[in-house]
Symmetry: C2
Subunit: 304 residues, 2 copies
């Protein structure tokens, strides 16, 4: 069994390090960072934090090095999905490719390049601390299911879920994985975008009565779009938000970290995704559109 | 004739420097900055830029120094209106007090302290460059009229207008000055708040298709609230916005300057004011509320 991780930032590295611990799996990493790739090939990949793991996946910056792969796990930021798939699609002619990226719209791009696509949502998170070393901050489950327009067969989805679970990354195979994806999407649309605009950490933003009004509105709009799509939520994002306040009181969501470093954000895949599906289904989403627009404006300000 | 300028930042200094050039007027300044007051008393007040003016108003940080005044012109930032009026109201027992501040809600506060109130809106702008010296960036008219709940008589309003005009600050006396005030309010609600959140200068923000969508929405909501109040706009703020793009392409609105310096903003008097009047009149203002909430969140982030 051969598996390729496409994009080995924090999340991709969590998957790669776990899979490389299985004797039955040959784990490959494709990443554009030569320093990260060289470090992994020289010294292996290390996770520290929630668990200590040290394994030896093979890594490359050159797509031609990749063998034919049975599974792909795409973990790039949303704006890199297309170039990453353009580079690596040839390795997946006989395989199935699963997105574990934030937000929505990534599977649609993957499906332009491969015929068996898996929709995925993952909660584990961490941070790349140096080439070859990732701090693992959060454990959690992963949900996967066939991507409806170009689905991988259900037994293939189940095979990937059991492979990931046996590696230590608990993964559930679902016939409809949209509920998990939209639960996380809507939660992130409320947290990431509004923390980025106010520069407040997650819990502080949710405790601010002014900001909370916007968060609640973003969530209500997202739930209305999901309902119009016939999606049954895995969990109410409003409840998830309430439960997250204390544990993530001073946590800076990844998009806020991006904004503070003036890096491109995933706003198109978060609030922008809700706006797109809202428009297609006649559901108004003014607060998501405002959040999307303002973060796009912030990104534009860095180029002046 | 004795006139007191309450708050001598850029705008207050423009009025004070002009009035002090009239032989018939004794011009007083009340300001909390001892350095600015000392500089004015030692060397006079200088304007440079649109015009070169050097006059000698009297300045004080001590309200007890103020004589009985015929007119007051309040030019503090909105959040300082209340303490400024608490300090100086005794000087206006026989006089009329006019706000030339940004946004709405200031006259309501002034009316808690004095019985003859004038609603005002001014376009001239500048920047305090050092104590006693103001760079005068923009010329323009001032519109004043009786504040309806505690109005100064119309002949008093007209007397102030002709005094200001004769000093070189062209001022129009109107029976209903709300149209001018709401025109500037709505324009500022679109420009200041959204430039502050995106950190784009005025014209660049209006040319960004994403941000412009929010600006247009903020303006439409503001016009709906004004219509519900029976206010006839001086000019359509949407036209004002369009006309301002080229001339203010790289202009950083005052609120953006405040945000970059992490100073409290006038958001409560701008988008917050539109939200308040919208609520009181049953007009939904979700985009103004979001802009208000997010700037309040930004302000909160500086206190962490």
């Amino acid at each position: 069994m051969k598996v390729g991780i496409i994009g080995s930032g924090a999340v991709g590295s969590l998957f790669a390090a776990h899979l490389a611990g299985l004797d039955t799996v040959e784990t490959w990493i494709y990443d554009v960072s030569q320093a990260h790739v060289d470090a992994i090939n020289a010294n292996g990949l290390r996770l520290t934090g929630v668990g200590e793991i040290h394994t030896f996946p093979r890594a490359t910056t050159s797509p031609a090095d990749l063998p034919d792969l049975d599974f792909g796990i795409v973990a790039t930021k949303g704006m890199h999905t297309r170039p990453a798939m353009q580079a690596t699609a040839a390795a997946f002619e006989g395989g199935a490719v699963c997105s574990v990226q934030n937000g929505i719209g990534n599977e649609e791009v993957i499906a332009e390049f491969v015929s068996a696509v898996i929709r995925g949502t993952t909660f584990p998170a961490g941070k790349l601390v140096e080439p070859g070393v990732v701090q693992w901050d959060t454990a959690g489950k992963t949900w996967i299911g066939p991507f409806e327009p170009r689905p991988a067969p259900m037994d293939v989805v189940e095979a990937l879920a059991s492979l990931l679970t046996s590696s230590g990354m608990e993964t559930l195979a679902l016939k409809d994985a949209r509920g998990a994806q939209w639960t996380k999407l809507i939660f992130n649309a409320a947290s990431n975008a509004l923390c980025s605009l106010t520069r407040l950490p997650h819990g502080r933003a949710a405790l601010d009565e002014h900001v909370r009004w916007v968060m609640d509105g973003v969530i209500e709009e997202g739930k209305a779009v999901a309902a119009a799509l016939g999606i049954e939520m895995e969990k109410d994002p409003a409840v998830l938000l309430e439960e997250s306040i204390e544990v993530a009181l001073d946590h800076k969501p990844s998009m806020l970290q991006d904004v503070l470093a003036e890096r491109s954000t995933e706003i198109d895949q978060l609030n922008g995704g809700i706006v797109g599906f809202g428009e297609a289904n006649g559901i108004p989403t003014p607060l998501n559109r405002a959040a999307w627009a303002l973060v796009k404006g912030l990104e534009a300000s860095w180029k002046l």
